[in-house]
Amino acid sequence: MDTVSDVPYIVEATGLTKEFKGFAAVKNVDLRIRRHTIHALIGPNGAGKTTCFNLITKFLEPTRGTIRLNGRDITRTKPADIARLGMVRSFQISATFGHMSVLENVRVALQRPLGTSFHFWKSESSLSALNDRAMQLIADVDLTQYANHMAVELPYGRKRALEIATTLALEPEMLLLDEPTSGMGREDIARTSDLIKRVSENRTVLMVEHNLSVVANLSDRITVLARGEILTEGPYAEVSKNPQVIEAYMGTGHGHG
């Protein structure tokens, strides 16, 4: 197997299937994500979008199918090692470290490369070398004023922003964002949307997103999932006119977009 990093597709999932006790949440999905693009995964609730994320990042073992990252087979790789290969995910429910400060949240993502993460005899102050970088990442998501707050105290939109800062701390080549703007107000949505645009410049983004104007604005390509299967794939203009897509959205009485 070759692991050239200049294959056009950074992620290639083939025949991805996940069954939960006989119920197929994801069925035979082929997903190819082109490098340096923003790729959106949309579909009604329960379509299997989060499950796809869990499979690609190996938080779930696929029942069938293979996953390649930069041409390298990662179907049997452990989730922590996926992050080390440059693919980092966020979670649908905001995932911060609640009883740690905003600064500590970001710093814990930065500290692994120091190689002292098992050093229980070293002082925490040895981590302060990372503070400048952490504060820079925090400033990038407009959280400077919250740097000393416990993450649990932040308003919801700010928690999501913190999650993005923490994800970016790993300088991932590939980001998977699961509903990054869900639960946000108009202003937060605009800010997050700009942020995603900005960080995608030299990265690849796969995102699940319900807000169709965000999808329309940001994504180069869209995959529509319904009942675990791919309905269609293409640029927004094409996908949004597809009668099957319109039906899938209307059919479930889905109030989004």
Binding site: F59, K78, A80, F91, A95, F97, S117, F120, S128
Partner: protein, 326 residues
Amino acid sequence: MTTSHIATSAGQDGYSPVRIIIALAVLAVLLVAPFGVYPVFLMKVMCFALFACAFNLLLGYVGLLSFGHAMFFGGASYICAHAVKVMGFSPELGILAGTAFAAVLGLVAGLLAIRRLGIYFAMVTLALAQMFFFFCLQAPFTGGEDGLQAVPRRPLFGVIDITSDLNLYYVVLAIFIIGFAIIYRTVHSPFGQVLKAIRENEARAVSLGYRVHQYKLMAFVLSAALVGLAGSTKAIVFQLASLTDVAWQMSGEVVLMTLVGGMGTIIGPVVGAAVIVTMQNYLASLGEWVLVIQGVIFVLAVSLFRRGIVGEIVAFIQKRKDAAAN
């Protein structure tokens, strides 16, 4: 605001003058304490306080509830007592042997239990501890029901006399301070930061590239070793190792101490251990009733002050601070 300013106020690691004064005051009290209170009682409190602190490293800072920590406490106690009494080890080497044994036992138990979550983790540790209990009951070197009695108190390092309780008190105090310092440092270390992250959100820690099982295992071994240090020291203090220390009730008692004092706080377990040991001592004449009273205290503790004694005090101070700030 500069970043360095933020750093000092964000880290809870600050050595502020107030903290240093408090620490020195506590140390002064501990140094004169044996002149007012029975040294043996104080040593017992310190052994259990170290036991509870080491247990809390796992429960409070990683979120793992072990229900088998008696195997490390009692196991180390047997090894230390055996090494000193039968093999003629000096006390410091006996304590070291007990601690090392607990670390190895911790590694084995940890490898078997660490991948289980929540109640399953508690059950696996309990099952392993029960197996260890029956091993101790059957094995010839533990002295069965009698235990290992009359463990000699040989001179420490061959020179320091510890036959007097007062002298031994200072040795135990030093051991307690070393153990406590190791735990404090661990909590406030780069490793401790990862442990907190795992406690707060394990999946997120994984997604950031941390192989969380390795960190949990490391914490488990550290905890077991420090519990072993406490158990070995207890064997020297009481000149005895017995089945009491490996029984499941002992695993329960340390949970009780930690919860009553306040889990996840650095001195909560010390307070909890002091409260429970004091209670046991003063209520000893009531016989079986001690257990009932302990049960009642436990129920009261978890229903009235969920955060434990120290946890509630910290929360109260925090609330007043917040109120003052607004």
